[in-house]
């Protein structure tokens, strides 16, 4: 495994504000890494530090094996796609694409050839003569991407590149960006606040909160084994249910507290009397006939998209359930619930960390 980008013990301060805390991150060459987290958690700061637009306060940043801490952006050989696209408004699409080549002193004929090649890949050929103001949002996005592609940089950095597009186009561009990444064999770092984007696009997902990396790993690792309640609640849609519980006296069960107490046997041991938070994904709860199942509760709300059905159960706290198909239960009915075996995530109620084992 060769690391294209390596951060060791990186910290970043804005004055007294500690924006990045002890970041350890290794980005494999050719991988697609997503930085995801709620707004203000430091994703952009981290990405801009990679680009050199922000200077890190301490730690080491290496790109392709070289220490880059004090290297100015123009010598880092990384390309960035901005959320605002940052297209040069006074230049045509072709001039935008070839700007970096012009700066490098590449001859005009060669620049034109390069622009045509990239435009053919990204579908901009017929727009080369236009100005950015004459383009739609999606087209501008493509220009921003092409401007990065033409450089064959050591890494592509994306800062929420799709957030200004409408939902349908976003889904489409998601696939397109990933396909381009694979085709170019590029190394990409992709910032987003949308966990679906991160999960669907990336090989490696880094989840941040308040300047700290909470967990990193492959999308399914994060889904299957979230390290704490924050990650568990952030990944997955609709969000995971958290139910208060305490460890049973026999050490092999838990007592759920959903208004009324309910004992559930476990395939593992817990400390008797330990305060727990049980994580259960909505898709891991199944509907059973009334009176059957592990527990029974009234249905508060039924929402259906046709293909998928979202149920909210009138328990405290509320439980959400999602399944494919149509619901036979209606609001007000009682329904039985079963949990998919092995789908319960156990967190310490105090530390919010996943119980080991």
């Amino acid at each position: 495994m060769t690391a294209q980008i390596e951060l060791t013990n990186v910290n970043k301060y804005y004055g007294a504000y500690h924006a990045l805390k002890d970041i350890e991150l290794s980005i494999r060459k050719g991988s697609f890494t997503a930085l995801v987290g709620p707004s203000g958690c430091g994703k952009s700061t981290l990405l801009r530090s990679l680009a050199g637009l922000e200077n890190i306060s301490s730690g080491t940043l290496k790109i392709a094996g070289e220490v880059m801490n004090a290297v100015p952006p123009r010598k880092r050989d990384v390309a960035m796609v901005f959320q605002s696209y940052a297209l040069y408004p006074h230049m045509t699409v072709e001039e935008n694409l070839t700007y970096s080549l012009r700066i490098k002193g590449v001859a005009k004929a060669e620049r034109k050839k390069a622009a045509n090649e990239v435009a053919a890949v990204t579908g901009l050929t017929h727009l080369l003569g236009r100005y950015p103001r004459e383009l739609s949002g999606g087209q501008r996005q493509r220009v921003a991407m092409s401007r990065a592609i033409i450089r064959h940089p050591k890494a592509f950095l994306f800062d929420e590149p799709l957030s200004n597009l409408d939902a349908a186009l976003r889904v489409h561009m998601r696939k397109e960006i990933r396909a381009l990444h694979d085709r170019l064999g590029a190394t990409s770092v992709y910032v987003t606040h949308d966990q679906v984007e991160a999960m669907t696009m990336a090989d490696h997902v880094v989840i941040m909160r308040d300047g700290v990396i909470e967990q990193q790993g492959s999308p399914l690792e994060l889904y299957d084994r979230p390290a704490n309640k924050f990650v568990a609640g952030f990944i997955g849609s609709p969000a995971m249910n958290f139910l208060p519980a305490i460890g049973g006296q026999d050490g092999r069960s838990i007592i759920l507290d959903l208004g009324l107490k309910q004992t559930i046997a476990l395939g593992r041991t817990v400390q008797p009397g330990q305060a727990l938070s049980i994580g259960l994904r909505p898709e891991h709860i199944e509907l059973a006939a009334p009176g059957e199942g592990i527990l029974s509760a009234p249905v508060a709300l039924v929402e259906s998209t046709g293909a998928t059905c979202f149920l909210t159960m009138a328990t405290t706290p509320e439980l959400s359930v999602v399944f494919n198909g149509r619901s036979v239960a209606r609001a007000g009915d009682r329904a039985g619930l079963n949990f998919v075996p092995g789908s319960m995530h156990l967190f310490d109620a105090e530390t919010e960390r996943r119980l080991p084992g």
């Binding site: 637009l53 100015p72 123009r74 940052a86 040069y88 408004p89 006074h90 700007y99 700066i103």
Partner: protein
């Protein structure tokens, strides 16, 4: 009547009302005098016909007479020098300052505000201050130039025919710099920061960023400031009155001062009007440049 009233309140009538008021104001106070001035340049005007509008028309005689006078061409040349040097100086110093304050060091906006002081000062006051600075015997400028070894003897800025025009130009550059700086600062701050970041990542160094991003993005601001500069320098009168009075022997005389001198000191209103008409032609060209450059904004 009712329809008229309701259109005044929420229809096109309101718009027309809003526009017509300043238009009427402009027409009476600027348009009519302008026309009157043009008419007068084709008439024979003397002290006795001054009060009447219907005076004998003489065709282009005033223009022919004017260009037959020996001082006309030198004064026109002075005006060209004054305008070109003032605009160039104001722009270069103003742009330099705008770029300097744009780096936003602590206290930058505060200091920039202080520069506006020069702009709120009346030209006559500025002229009086520069009279001291430029004074031949005990002026600060001469002192500095002498101490730095740039000159040996004193320069008599205001009375030496070789320097008198430049004395006014220096004062005018000082007077107009802050206006240039403010307008160019506004233009600079309207350039999105991420363009610089993008261009930096694309490999451009400071100079390349200036030539490929800053200057082209400032094109409309620069066009506007040049056109306004031409208009303002052609209007500059106070400094001439305060510093050199056009002398010695017309060495620092310019059309705007000369027009006033002809009309109101020599009472040759026809020639004064004729010069003004020539100046109007230049200002018209500047206005067209100004309108075009503000229309061709490249933003977004």
């Amino acid at each position: 009547m009712k329809r008229f009233l309701s259109s005044m309140i929420d229809g096109r009538g309101f718009d027309i009302g809003l526009v017509s008021l300043p238009l009427a104001f402009l027409l009476t106070l600027s348009g009519l005098p302008l026309l009157y001035n043009i008419v007068m340049s084709f008439q024979e005007v003397d002290m006795f016909s001054l009060g009447s509008f219907w005076r004998p028309f003489v065709g282009l005689k005033n223009y022919r007479d004017l260009f037959a006078q020996p001082e006309t061409w030198p004064i026109l040349a002075n005006t060209a020098t004054f305008v070109a040097a003032s605009i160039a100086g104001q722009f270069l110093v103003g742009f330099g300052l705008a770029l300097f304050f744009w780096t936003s060091f602590p206290g930058a906006s505060w200091l920039r505000g202080l520069f506006l002081v020069s702009w709120v000062m009346p030209g006559l006051v500025v002229g009086a201050i520069w009279n001291w600075i430029l004074s031949g015997d005990f002026g600060v400028l001469n002192f500095i130039l002498r101490e730095t070894g740039l000159i040996d003897g004193n320069i008599f800025w205001r009375s030496d025919p070789g320097f008198s025009l430049w004395a006014v130009i220096i004062a005018n550059i000082w007077l107009g710099t802050s206006f240039n700086m403010i307008l160019l600062s506004v233009g600079l701050s309207a350039i999105p920061r991420d363009l610089y970041e993008a261009s930096e990542l694309d490999g451009a160094n400071v100079w390349q960023r200036f030539w490929t991003i800053t200057l082209p993005m400032m094109r409309s601001s620069i066009g506007a400031i040049m056109a306004l500069g031409l208009i303002f320098t052609l209007q500059q009168f106070d400094l001439f009155a305060a510093i050199t009075s056009g002398g010695p022997n017309n060495a620092s005389n310019v059309t705007q001062y000369w027009a006033w001198d002809l009309s109101f000191r020599q009472y040759d209103f026809a020639k004064g009007a004729t010069i003004s008409v020539i100046m109007i032609a230049f200002v018209m060209v500047a206005s067209v440049v100004y309108v075009r450059s503000t229309r061709h904004e490249v933003r977004g």
